[in-house]
C-alpha cells in the first residue's frame, strides 16, 4: 500500500485537485496498484498545485502541477516509487521555496492528514496542551507573554496581556473566541491552517480556555470558506471523540467545548466587537470601547479574542518554550509571520519567515517577480486598509514598527502585487468604495465619508482625463482633508484606516492623480 497525498485545500481544489485524486484512485484500480490517498493540506506552493506527493521508502517525493491528463504517464514513470517524470519536483522539503522558510505555526500543514488526531499526535501535536495541563493558568499566560507573541490578525496587540486581563477578571462564565473572519484580500493563511491543520487551532483555543478559566469557545468563520468549515467540523468531532474536548479535557478538571459559527458575508465582522455582535445574533455593528472584550465581551462576559494564526502559534510556544519562539524575529516583532504572496505574482503562496525578511526578498527571491512578467509597480500589504508601497521602499523589513514608521502596516501579512499597468487612482477610488460597501454605518466619518470619497475620486479621475491639473489638485486637496476626518473621527479601523491606501497612493503615485509637477511636493506632504 503506497500513500499518495493530494491536497484538500480550497486553493488546490480550485485548480482541479479533486479530479486528480479521483483519477489516481481509478488508474490505480486499473493497474492493480495498492494506493491509499490522503487528502492533506497545501504546502503553500500554489503555482505547483495540484501538488501530489508519494510516500516512498526514501521519503516523500513531489510532483506538480498535476493535471488529470498527467496521471497515466505518472503511473508509467512509476511515480509510486518516486520515478522520474517531467513534473517531478524531488523531495518537497528540499524545494528552495520551502527549504528557506521557518515553519513553526505551519509545521504540519501539507504534511499530515488534517483531521486525523493520530497523525496530529505523531507529528508533535497536543504536546503543548499536555504541557499546559501540568502548569498553572498564570504560568501558561506568563509563557505566552514571554514568547512575545502579538495578535496576528492585524492589530499586533500582545496576546499574553490580553489573556492576563481575562484570567484576572472574575466571572461565572468566560469565553474564548477565534476570529476566523479572514476578509482581507491577499490573505489566506487562516484558511490554510483551518483546512490543513485545524487541530492546531483547536489545541491553541483549548490552551487559552485553560489559561483564562473559559470553558466555551467559538470559531467565527467567514461564510466564504466552506472547505474550512468542513475540515474544522471534522477535526472538532475527532477531538471530542478522543477526549481532547468536552467535559474533561484529557481526564483533567478542565472542561472545554468548541463550536463553529458561520458569518454572513460582512467584512466588518472581522472587527472584534462587530464579530461579538454577530455571534450574539445581531447586526455586525461596531461597539464602543471601553469596555474591552477581555472584561466585557461575548454576552457581556470576559472573552479572549484572537486570530486563527495567534491561537495556532500557542501550542508550539507551550511545547518548545517561550524562548524558542522569541528567538526568532527582530525588535519587538518576535517569532515568525506566515506571509502570503498574492495577486500578480509568479510564485504565489505561503511563506512563513521570522520577522525581518524584506519585501524585496519576498517578492523576488520567493515570489519570482510578477506573474505578468512586467515590472512590479506597487504592493499593498495588510489588506484593503493597508498602504500601497512603491518599489523604492522594497527594502523595508517585515516588522510591525518599521512598517508603522512609514504609515504602512503589516496587518495579517498579506502582500498583493500589482504590475505597472495598475492605475493607482482607480485603486484609491476602490478603497473608498469598499469602505462604503462594508461600513457598518454606526459612525458618520466612515458611513458618509467613504461615499464622499468615491465621489471626490470620480472628480479627480475626470480632471485627470480632461487634463485639468488645477481641478485635479483642488479635488485631491479635498480628498486629503476628508481622509484626515476619517482617520481621526472613525470609531474603528475600517473608516480609520481606509484612508491609508488612498493617502499612500497620492503620496507615491501623484502622476496617477493628474497632479501637475508643481503640486507634487505639496500633495506628497
Amino acid at each position: 500500500m503506497t500513500r499518495v497525498y493530494v491536497p484538500r485545500d480550497a486553493g488546490a481544489l480550485s485548480v482541479g485537485a479533486d479530479g486528480v485524486a479521483r483519477g489516481i484512485a481509478a488508474e490505480a484500480v486499473l493497474r492493480g496498484s495498492q494506493v491509499e490517498i490522503v487528502r492533506n493540506g497545501s504546502r503553500g506552493l500554489y503555482w505547483l498545485e495540484p501538488f501530489v506527493e508519494v510516500d516512498t521508502p526514501a521519503g516523500r517525493v513531489a510532483y506538480g502541477p498535476v493535471g488529470q491528463g498527467d496521471i497515466a504517464s505518472l503511473f508509467q514513470a512509476d511515480f509510486l516509487n518516486g520515478g522520474g517524470h517531467p513534473l517531478s519536483l524531488g523531495k518537497p522539503e528540499e524545494i528552495p521555496y520551502l527549504a528557506r522558510q521557518e515553519r513553526l505555526t505551519f509545521a504540519r500543514v501539507g504534511i499530515t492528514d488534517p483531521v486525523s488526531v493520530e497523525d496530529y499526535e505523531a507529528n508533535d501535536g497536543y504536546r503543548g496542551l499536555r504541557r499546559a495541563l501540568e502548569m498553572t493558568p498564570a504560568a501558561i499566560v506568563e509563557a505566552v507573554t514571554q514568547s512575545g507573541l502579538r495578535g496576528r490578525g492585524g492589530a499586533a496587540f500582545p496576546t499574553g496581556i490580553k489573556w492576563k486581563t481575562v484570567l484576572n477578571t472574575p466571572a461565572g462564565q468566560k469565553y474564548v473566541v477565534c476570529n476566523a473572519d479572514e476578509g482581507d484580500s491577499g490573505t489566506f493563511s487562516d484558511r490554510m491552517v483551518m483546512e490543513g491543520d485545524p487541530l492546531v487551532l483547536v489545541e491553541g483555543m483549548t490552551i487559552a480556555g485553560i489559561a483564562t478559566g473559559a470553558n466555551r469557545g467559538y470559531i467565527y468563520l467567514r461564510s466564504e470558506y466552506p472547505h474550512a468549515l468542513r475540515a474544522l467540523n471534522e477535526a472538532i468531532a475527532a477531538a471530542y471523540a478522543r477526549g481532547f474536548l468536552g467535559a474533561s479535557v484529557l481526564g483533567s478538571a478542565y472542561a472545554f467545548d468548541l463550536e463553529v459559527r458561520v458569518g454572513a458575508g460582512a467584512y466588518i465582522c472581522g472587527e472584534e466587537t462587530a464579530m461579538l455582535e454577530s455571534l450574539e445574533g445581531k447586526r455586525g455593528m461596531v461597539r464602543f470601547k471601553p469596555p474591552l472584550p477581555a472584561i466585557s465581551g461575548l454576552f457581556g462576559q470576559p472573552t479572549v479574542i484572537n486570530n486563527v494564526i495567534s491561537f495556532a502559534s500557542v501550542p508550539i510556544i507551550l511545547d518548545r518554550g517561550a524562548e524558542y519562539y522569541r528567538d526568532y524575529g527582530m525588535g519587538r516583532s518576535r517569532g515568525t509571520l506566515p506571509i502570503q504572496l498574492a495577486g500578480n505574482i509568479k510564485h504565489g503562496g505561503l511563506v512563513e519567515k521570522a520577522f525581518g525578511v524584506t519585501l524585496k526578498e519576498l517578492l523576488y527571491d520567493f515570489g519570482g517577480g510578477s506573474r505578468s512578467g512586467r515590472p512590479i509597480r506597487a504592493v499593498q500589504v495588510g489588506g484593503p486598509l493597508g498602504a500601497f508601497i512603491p518599489q523604492s521602499q522594497f527594502d523595508l523589513p517585515l516588522d510591525y514598527e518599521a512598517f508603522a514608521a512609514t504609515n504602512a502596516m503589516v496587518g495579517h501579512g498579506g502582500i498583493v502585487v500589482f504590475d505597472d499597468t495598475v492605475d493607482m487612482a482607480v485603486m484609491a477610488r476602490y478603497a473608498m468604495e469598499f469602505c462604503a460597501i462594508e461600513s457598518c454605518g454606526k459612525c458618520t466619518p466612515c458611513r458618509i465619508g467613504s461615499i464622499r470619497g468615491v465621489e471626490v475620486m470620480d472628480r479627480v479621475i475626470a480632471a485627470r482625463e480632461a487634463r485639468d491639473p488645477a481641478e485635479a489638485a483642488a479635488s485631491t486637496a479635498l480628498l486629503k482633508d476628508l481622509c484626515d476626518t476619517m482617520l481621526a473621527g472613525s470609531l474603528c479601523a475600517l473608516g480609520g484606516m481606509a484612508p491609508y491606501p488612498v493617502l499612500s497612493a497620492i503620496q507615491h503615485f501623484p502622476v496617477d492623480f493628474g497632479l501637475p509637477a508643481a503640486e507634487l511636493a505639496t500633495a506628497a506632504g
Partner: protein, 159 residues
C-alpha cells in the same frame, strides 16, 4: 416564490432545532436559506416570535448581511471576486465579461433563471487569482474569460 405551507414547515423545523441556541439568529437564517434558497419576508414575524425578538431586529439582521436574500436567486449563484488581489490580474474585466455573457448587471439573474451573478470581496484564493465560486461550494482559480464561459454554460444547461 413558494406558498406559505411550504416555507412555514421549513421555518418551524429550523426553529425547533435551533431556537434555544445562544445568539442563534444567524444559524437560523442560514439554515432557512440553505433549505429554501432565500428567507421569505413573510417568515420574519414567525422567526421573531420564536426567538423573542422584534420583527425590526430580524429584518435588520437579514438586510445587514450580504449573504441573506429576501427573494429567490437563480438556480445557481456565481460569485466573482473583485477584491484587490483578483483585480491585480484582471478581475474587473472578468466580472464585466460575466455580465455580458449572462446579459445581466451585477446582482442580476440571467433571463433563463439559471445563474445569479454576485460580486464577492475575497474568496481567500489570492495566490491563484482571479477566483470564482459557484453555489458557495465549488471554487475556481486562475479563471480566464474562456474558462468562465465553460463554467457558466454548464450551469445554464444543468438543472
Amino acid at each position: 416564490m413558494i406558498d406559505r405551507a411550504a416555507w412555514l414547515d421549513t421555518v418551524n423545523r429550523v426553529l425547533g432545532r435551533l431556537k434555544t441556541m445562544p445568539g442563534g439568529l444567524l444559524p437560523v437564517l442560514h439554515a432557512i436559506q440553505e433549505d429554501l434558497g432565500y428567507i421569505p419576508p413573510e417568515s420574519v414575524p414567525v422567526i421573531a416570535e420564536a426567538l423573542n425578538l422584534s420583527r425590526a431586529e430580524v429584518h435588520g439582521v437579514i438586510s445587514f448581511y450580504h449573504d441573506f436574500r429576501s427573494e429567490p436567486a437563480g438556480r445557481h449563484i456565481v460569485h466573482v471576486c473583485r477584491a484587490e488581489s483578483c483585480q491585480s490580474v484582471g478581475a474587473e474585466a472578468l466580472l464585466a465579461h460575466a455580465c455580458d455573457h449572462l446579459g445581466v448587471e451585477v446582482h442580476g439573474t440571467s433571463a433563463d433563471g439559471a445563474v445569479t451573478l454576485e460580486p464577492v470581496y475575497c474568496l481567500g484564493n489570492c495566490a491563484l487569482s482571479p477566483a470564482v465560486m459557484v453555489d458557495h461550494r465549488d471554487l475556481y482559480g486562475r479563471v480566464t474569460a474562456d474558462h468562465l464561459d465553460v463554467v457558466l454554460d454548464s450551469l445554464r444547461s444543468s438543472r
